[in-house]
């Protein structure tokens, strides 16, 4: 338990729990809309934002050159989410190709810009695969504020966000502000990705949004309960991953995702065995 007295471990646990709670909230809406891989794409673009922020920080002569990385990521991720939402709602021909160009262009620009800003491979890897073991108290406060926005809107607007993501045509007929609510989901996804980037990195960020929801779906069949159970699972995975990381020298982001995949396989196996037994 002496490990828990370490301020770094405390910061890691706080950030991990916040991200573990917030990511599945947005993930539930993305899975509902069958857009589970959206987070992956926005994450790619967020890396370009990180790099742009880094470059701006270097140009401005800031002591901490990556001080503008998170604001940069937030702006780029929201921009990408807004473009994707526009393409989706307009049903634009070739929208998938445009999105692919956006995603891969984002990550390529990000890698080049980080290099131009004087970033090292270690810095780059930190954003690609997460760097929860380097969080500062400033990171904790920023993460806390962004996670609070996601939780407040994602849970507070749950009935109307459910209506819009479940049946958009009916939602329009009721007079719900469908366009605005769709944009709320897109912006929440962008903010969540920026927050979760610190824990699991842009390449694995989608997993933290989707895996807890996939596990919860095996356990329950109500939308509200799926979201609630997914939040508990998300927080449990990040906490367990953080604690194991402190004890053993493993990459935290990858470990959290592997734990999630393992939990999904185990829960699915138990559920299918139960179904087979009750069918007999």
């Amino acid at each position: 338990m002496t490990v828990l007295a370490d301020p770094l471990v405390q910061r890691m646990l706080i950030v991990g729990v916040l991200v573990g709670l917030a990511a599945p909230v947005v993930g539930t809406y993305l899975v509902q809309r069958r857009m589970a891989l959206l987070g992956d794409g926005i994450g790619h673009v967020a890396l370009a934002g990180v790099a742009a922020g880094w470059l701006a920080g270097s140009a401005a002569g800031l002591t901490q050159r990556d001080a503008l990385a998170v604001p940069g990521a937030v702006i780029f991720a929201i921009g990408a989410a807004a473009i994707i939402e526009r393409l989706r709602t307009r049903g634009t021909t070739g929208a998938d190709v445009v999105m692919a160009i956006l995603f891969y262009g984002g990550i390529a620009v990000g890698v080049l810009l980080i290099g131009a800003a004087g970033g090292t491979n270690a810095n780059l890897l930190g954003y690609l695969f997460g760097s929860i073991s380097t969080v500062t108290w400033t990171d904790v406060w920023v993460t806390g504020a962004l996670a609070a926005v996601v939780l407040l809107l994602g849970i507070g607007l749950r009935p109307s966000l459910f209506a819009v993501t479940h049946d958009q045509e009916f939602a329009r007929s009721t007079g719900l502000p469908v366009g605005a609510l769709n944009m709320v989901v897109a912006v929440l996804a962008a903010v969540t990705i920026t927050v979760a980037m610190r824990v699991v990195g842009v390449l694995l960020v989608s997993a933290l949004m989707i895996l807890p929801v996939a596990i919860a779906q095996v356990l329950t069949h109500s939308f509200t309960r799926t979201m609630n159970v997914a939040m508990v699972i998300g927080a449990t995975l990040t906490t367990a991953g953080t604690i194991i990381t402190v004890t053993y020298d493993v990459q935290p982001g990858a470990l959290i995702v592997v734990l999630g995949v393992g939990a999904y396989v185990a829960v699915s196996l138990v559920a299918s065995m139960r179904r087979a037994r009750s069918a007999r």
């Binding site: 539930t28 899975v31 509902q32 809309r33 069958r34 589970a36 507070g156 607007l157 009935p159 109307s160 459910f162 209506a163 993501t165 479940h166 049946d167 958009q168 045509e169 009916f170 939602a171 329009r172 007929s173 009721t174 007079g175 719900l176 502000p177 929801v213 779906q217 329950t220 069949h221 109500s222 939308f223 509200t224 799926t226």
Partner: protein
């Protein structure tokens, strides 16, 4: 009215009084589903205008509307209970969260359609007929003055058809105006007061519903042959020929 620069509907008007049921009929591509989807705001118009209750639909009009889309939308990526789906019918402009007694109202609406016991079931695991009843309960829980249903009997089993017909008869008795998009009359025949038939986006018949006899009872029949000059024939009833 045009969509993507193509004229889809031309001066289509439907009058439906409180307590009246109108069938909106026509063959595939006649524009009947497009008409109701545009009317309820589900389709963005390139040009033209839509009026409901005699004026452009306002948020208050939407509150008085109960829409039942085609059933393909009953289940989605994340499971949801029948009660959750019906509760979403209590939302609207300026109401982003359900009313305090939403749960009770949703369960009552499901019970009215004979599926109260399924309130906590995953709507994706229900039969086609049960799913359709859930969607109708979602529209009815709004206590609407105008109910619009798009092909409500498509792929619905017989017990559900009877239950749906009874629920609509009850709503009709309580004074709701009802518009039903139909390909063929079927179980709803006894409820229909009059029919409006569309062909290529124009009204070609207003009056008695075509008898569901002979070829008109066959799936795939377009109900509107022969009609040489649709726009000019819009005001009067057309002979509904029962021979091919």
């Amino acid at each position: 009215m045009t969509l993507g620069g193509v004229e889809i509907l031309h001066d289509v008007q439907i009058s439906v009084a409180p307590g009246e049921v109108v069938a909106l009929m026509g063959g595939n591509g006649s524009g009947k589903s497009t008409f109701v989807r545009a009317l309820v705001g589900a389709l963005p118009l390139s040009s033209g205008s839509i009026e409901m209750f005699g004026h452009a639909p306002s948020p208050a009009d939407r509150a008085n509307l109960g829409y039942v889309p085609q059933r393909v939308t009953a289940s989605a990526g994340v499971s949801a209970t029948a009660r959750e789906v019906v509760m979403s019918g209590l939302l609207g402009a300026g109401r982003l969260r359900p009313v305090r007694d939403a749960r009770e109202r949703a369960e009552r609406a499901l019970t009215d359609l004979g599926i109260g016991a399924l309130a906590r079931r995953d709507v994706g695991t229900l039969s086609g007929g049960e799913q359709q009843r859930v969607l109708i309960a979602r529209a009815m829980v709004r206590d609407p003055r105008l109910v619009i249903l798009d092909e409500p009997m498509a792929g619905v089993d017989l017990p559900s058809q009877e239950s749906l017909t009874a629920a609509l008869a009850d709503r009709k008795e309580r004074g709701a105006a009802i518009v039903i998009v139909l390909h063929e009359l079927g179980a709803l025949t006894r409820l229909i007061d009059h029919a409006v038939v569309l062909e290529r986006g124009c009204v070609v018949h207003v009056g008695e519903p075509p008898a569901a006899l002979g070829v008109h009872a066959l799936p795939g029949h377009d109900h509107v042959h022969p009609h040489p000059d649709p726009p000019e024939r819009a005001s009067g009833p057309l002979p509904m020929d029962v021979t091919p």
